[in-house]
């Protein structure tokens, strides 16, 4: 059952709370980027955007979601658990010895399409997947979520050229544009702006959206393809660490793990907000 925007909003806070517990328990993970993309993933998986089913995780005609920002694995696993692809109890094994819930996703996990973690790999894989669907005249689609710092990797732009050449309007790139990469703001390291114009110049159809607004995200995703014959780029404007005041927009929270006290404070803030 697809959730409404209002339900997605509450669900996204549940996801964030569980996500933080997973990272805290494991003593590892990428807190900032997880909270940044939580609304996007919740909308994709629980808002009925992705045509996928946990009972048919390997169905040939499933939509492919490729988590190119593989470091947000704790978020991905949390959402996969809420979407019933993996048991919720399994989240306790995140990054534990011999767990399949690796610090970066591996495709042995139901619902995971690619072994990501090295940045700049997801989009080329998405291009190939979308091309396979086009070759078969199939209706399934490929979605790729990247970070924004990841846009500095040249492989994305190789893929950008080819995707528009192949007219892959069944391919959607979502850029989690929170402005921060590991150590600093993207614009202070290797500036990306004007990012939307870059994608337009590569002949992609571009939409910009508030990446924390579930209704807006749903509306955008439901209008895919934006234009016939062009790949879709969604630049989702987000805040790294979204939802927790002392984590938000702070580079040092890229992969910092909350202390017991910080976790308690974060859960309290997220509880308040889900009751809005």
């Amino acid at each position: 059952m697809a959730l409404t925007p209002k339900e997605l909003r509450r669900m996204a806070y549940r996801v964030r709370r569980r996500n933080l517990r997973v990272i805290h328990e494991a003593g590892g993970g990428h807190t900032g980027g997880d909270l940044s993309a939580a609304d996007i993933l919740t909308t994709l998986y629980l808002g009925g955007v992705l045509h996928i089913s946990p009972s048919r995780a390997d169905a040939p005609d499933r939509d492919r979601f490729i988590m190119s920002k593989g470091h947000s694995s704790a978020l991905l696993y949390t959402v996969l658990a809420f979407a019933d692809f993996i048991p919720k109890e399994e989240l306790h094994t995140y990054m534990q010895p011999l767990s399949r819930l690796s610090g970066h996703p591996v495709d042995e996990i139901p619902g995971v399409e690619a072994n990501t973690g090295s940045l700049g790999h997801g989009l080329p894989i998405g291009v190939g997947a979308a091309l396979a669907a086009k070759m078969d005249g199939a209706s399934w689609r490929a979605f790729v979520l990247t970070g924004d710092g990841e846009m500095q990797a040249g492989s994305n732009w190789e893929a950008a050229l080819q995707a528009s050449h192949l007219k892959l309007d069944n391919l959607t790139l979502i850029v989690d544009r929170n402005g921060l990469q590991l150590s600093d703001w993207t614009e202070r390291i290797a500036p990306l702006e004007p990012l939307a114009d870059k994608w337009r110049s590569f002949n992609w159809s571009v939409r910009e959206v508030n990446g924390h607004d579930h209704a807006a995200l749903l509306e955008i995703f439901e209008s895919i393809p934006f234009e016939s014959g062009r790949p879709n780029c969604v630049i989702a404007h987000t805040h790294k660490g979204k939802g927790v005041s002392f984590i938000e927009d702070r580079a040092e929270w890229h992969h910092r793990v909350p202390t017991d006290k910080e976790l308690a404070a974060a859960l309290e803030e997220l509880r308040d907000m889900s009751n809005d």
Binding site: G128, E158, A159
Partner: protein, 318 residues
């Protein structure tokens, strides 16, 4: 005059044949339709060949995505660019994911000769052999090249095939069947074993002829399947002959010689010599010149065999 064959042609003919039978097979290349001999494939299957331009990282990622979508991609490109430029995509998107992608390196080794070090692919076996899930096969002649493509299409999972552009004579009979992880004994002998792959197989056979003139009987193994490797054939050679000489169109580090040595030192140590490019970038010169330069010739192999057997001093006294 022995007729010589370009194994790239055998690769492309075989690819056409498997593509006729299996509609899932597609080909990708990096602006190398001509040099990968895919022009005819393009004519036969225009909707199944993707020339992605000079963008090897994207090419390998796309191949992985196509495999995810149920296709069987054969990626054909000059080995120097295919393997080095996209090595991390090969590791993560293909091997780590165990994706059903077939990598076909062409114009391998020193084949590009005077074009220089950028174009030589003499580290590719070492790089790809080190990656889990990846198979590495180096065919020696057109018959084996066709078999390699057929085998690649039949197995599920990643494989790297290496096709030279240099002319090679036929060394296998027409009913030959390449088997994964199986060496082929092309000549039996009890004194020394010569183990070669690819373009060096013929030279090893010629070296064996030269060795008979010195009263030495050489066993010649064609080790096309470098990974998985035929441990049994190597152990038998180690037990039944006095020394092993490996020869490859590749760096001496990490290639065929290393793969053989890994078995020899753990199972039955004996004297070995590893012939190849000795840890340096090749100087400028055509491939034949470079083979002479590095001793990758029948005489060079013969000399290494007599030396490792401790017989070079005898010839020196002649």
């Amino acid at each position: 005059m022995t007729e010589l064959f370009d194994c790239r042609n055998s690769f492309s003919r075989a690819l056409e044949n498997v593509a006729r039978r299996d509609p899932r097979i597609v080909a990708l290349t990096n602006d190398s339709v001509g040099s990968a001999k895919l022009t005819r494939f393009c004519g036969l299957f225009p909707d199944r060949l993707f020339n992605v331009g000079i963008a090897e990282q994207n090419m390998i990622g796309m191949a992985s995505g196509l495999a995810n979508g149920g296709k069987i991609p054969f990626v054909a490109a000059a080995a120097c660019f295919l393997t080095a430029r996209a090595l991390e995509q090969i590791k993560n998107d293909v091997a780590y994911s165990n994706a059903n992608v077939k990598l076909c390196g062409v114009s391998t080794g020193l084949a590009y000769g005077a074009l220089g070090g950028t174009h030589h692919a003499i580290e590719d076996i070492a790089w790809l052999r080190a990656i889990a899930n990846m198979r590495v096969v180096v065919p020696a002649d057109p018959i084996e090249s066709e078999q390699a493509v057929k085998m690649a299409a039949e197995i599920r999972g990643p494989i790297y095939l290496r096709f030279s552009r240099m002319g090679v004579p036929i060394v296998h009979s027409s009913d030959y069947t390449l088997e994964m992880g199986r060496a082929v004994c092309l000549r039996d002998g009890g004194d020394v074993t010569l183990i070669a792959c690819g373009t060096m197989v013929t030279r090893a056979l010629e070296a064996a002829e030269l060795l008979t003139e010195e009263g030495i009987e050489a066993r010649v193994l064609n080790m096309a399947s470098i990974k998985p490797i035929d441990r049994e054939a190597i152990i038998a050679a180690a037990k039944e002959t006095a020394a092993i000489v490996t020869v490859e169109e590749h760096q001496i580090y990490g290639g065929l010689g290393s793969a053989v040595a890994e078995v020899v030192v753990t199972e039955h140590p004996l004297p070995m010599r590893i012939l190849g490019v000795p840890g340096q970038f090749a100087p400028i010169g055509g491939p034949e010149f470079l083979f002479e330069h590095f001793g990758l010739t029948a005489k060079g192999i013969r000399d290494a065999a007599t030396e490792v057997l401790g017989l070079d001093s005898i010839r020196g006294a002649e």
